[in-house]
């Protein structure tokens, strides 16, 4: 079990630095061709219990050279009564600065055109949060995360 504590950002938000890279099956397929996957991308992830799934900004997926592995029906504050179809991508997530800290080996995430207004590249949803313990110490303004590293799928 890995336990790590972090401070919120200047706005009091729980931000975690993560590395995102291609899924294990995609890396294996690339390596079978004698190719190397593109380098992992360091991102800022906002812990978001209001998101049922993890959302990744399209620019990050493009930097990883990924293509979609399907689509998801998404309902947001802006979609009203008509949910939208949005691209789904498979990735791995690693806790930055934590050796062996793989949060997910084959996570199906949902693309977002732009999360720039929030100053983050990922909304870390309940699909990932359900794999870990998250403790918010309000009086001290600190967050603690405990998780067991994900193994290969």
């Amino acid at each position: 079990m890995i336990v790590t504590t972090f401070d919120p950002d200047s706005k009091g938000r729980p931000l975690i630095e993560l590395f995102v890279t291609a899924s294990v099956p995609r890396i294996a397929a690339l390596e079978a061709l004698g190719e190397q996957p593109l380098s992992p991308v360091l991102v800022r992830a906002l812990v978001d219990t209001g998101a049922s799934r993890t959302i990744v900004e399209k620019s990050v997926l493009d930097r990883l050279g990924l293509e979609p592995v399907g689509e998801e029906i998404v309902h947001t504050a802006s979609t009203g009564g008509t949910p939208k179809r949005v691209g789904a991508y498979a990735v791995q997530l690693f806790f930055a600065g934590v050796p062996g800290g793989r949060l997910a080996a084959d996570l199906r995430v949902v693309e977002a055109e732009d999360l720039g207004g929030l100053g983050v590249e990922i909304l870390l949803g309940r699909d990932v949060l359900s794999r870990l313990l998250l403790f918010f110490n309000g009086p001290e303004g600190r967050f603690t995360v405990a998780f067991s590293p994900s193994t290969a799928p």
Binding site: A29, A51, S52, P68, V69, A90
Partner: protein, 111 residues
């Protein structure tokens, strides 16, 4: 150009076994495919969904065009089978469920 040309000329023969004994044709693994939307794949899935629900609910299929691989046990297994069969490019991986799940996100705008 030299390196690109070499890669395009390279072919690789792969055999995949699905459900124990079905051998698929040998694909060219490095045939890159572009993304043109999932209209065909969505329609293909809807055609076979009743049959899949009856026999393989909860499992996964992977579709490219009208071609379907599966059922498979996990998303990762479906991805791997898809890349082996169709090469690097977009895949339509679908879990066989009676009701399509809806992703709920309170703070981002789907455009």
């Amino acid at each position: 150009m030299g390196k690109t040309g070499n890669r395009q000329n390279k072919t690789r023969t792969v055999k995949t076994v699905i459900n124990g004994d079905e051998k698929l044709p040998s694909p060219a693994l490095d045939r890159r495919r572009s993304f043109a939307g999932f209209d065909r794949e969505r329609a293909a899935y809807e055609r076979i969904k009743p049959t899949l629900l009856a026999k393989s609910a909860g499992k996964y299929v992977v579709i490219v065009g009208d071609k379907v691989i599966g059922p498979l046990e996990s998303h990762a297994e479906a991805e791997a089978a898809g890349y082996t069969r169709f090469g690097i490019g977009p895949l339509y991986v679908k879990q066989v469920l009676a009701e399509e799940p809806v992703v709920e996100v309170t703070r981002f705008h789907a455009t």
